[in-house]
């Protein structure tokens, strides 16, 4: 799968990218929501994994734009901190396909990504 990872924290991006590449996925990264929209146009990813709190455009805004694009059906997994857990309802309303909580458990990330991997096969 081609996976777009969006996060403004460099170490978080590096970690997710490192792990996903190890699993054999192609990874594209972006450090904010606006740049991510350009990457979606250019790269047409199979899955987007995005943080919620980011500069310029939040993960919610990105999610909303992706989900209202009639030309694309890209699943979106949001990354949330434990203290943001109350926002999960909002994200589900907007159309988030999945969640993962920070600090990320790599086995959990693998399992969650695999679910989408099977859908795109």
């Amino acid at each position: 799968m081609k996976i777009l990872v969006v996060d403004d924290e460099e170490m978080m991006i590096k970690t997710i990218e490192f792990h996903l590449k190890k699993l054999g996925h192609e990874v594209v990264t972006s450090s904010d929501g606006k740049e991510a929209m350009d990457k979606i146009e250019q790269e047409n990813p199979d899955l987007i994994i995005s943080d919620i709190m980011m500069p310029f455009m939040s993960g919610f805004e990105l999610l909303s734009l992706v989900k209202t694009d009639p030309n694309r059906k890209i699943p979106v997994m949001l990354i949330s901190s434990l203290d943001e857990i109350q926002v999960i309802d909002t994200a589900i309303e907007i159309g988030a396909d999945d969640f993962i909580i920070k600090p990320i458990n790599l086995n959990e990330l693998t399992l969650r990504v695999n679910r989408f991997s099977h859908k795109t096969e």
Binding site: D8, E9, M11, M12, L106
Partner: protein
């Protein structure tokens, strides 16, 4: 010991190059965070303190600096609810002192990995 690299080692899965890269990111970037929040505190920009602290929080988890967690939580809470510059400053100084000691450990670990 201020740091515990077991989480980072688990991610790295034997790849020392990845560990060195992550250690260098933390060593280089974390002082920038303290510069930013101290500047924000001097400008009474509590929103910026909250968002910068929220952003940096997982990086402490990568380095296993568990003692920093309650301080980080308290800085975030203070920046949102209390907004007391004196107590915030004390918390920031305490976190920075702990982080400086942690960085010393991480530098030693990085140097050891680089010479292997």
């Amino acid at each position: 010991m201020h740091t515990d690299l077991s989480y980072l080692n688990e991610i790295a899965d034997g790849n020392d190059e990845f560990i060195v890269e992550m250690l260098e990111m933390f060593i280089d970037k974390t002082p920038e965070y303290f510069f930013e929040i101290k500047k924000s505190l001097s400008e009474s920009n509590y929103e910026q303190i909250k968002s910068a602290t929220h952003k940096v929080k997982p990086t402490f988890a990568f380095m296993g600096i568990d003692k920093a967690k309650p301080l980080i939580v308290e800085i975030e809470r203070n920046a949102v609810e209390i907004r007391n510059p004196e107590s915030l400053n004390e918390l920031i100084v305490e976190l920075e002192t702990m982080t400086t000691e942690a960085i010393n450990e991480l530098e030693q670990h990085r140097d050891k990995l680089k010479t292997n």
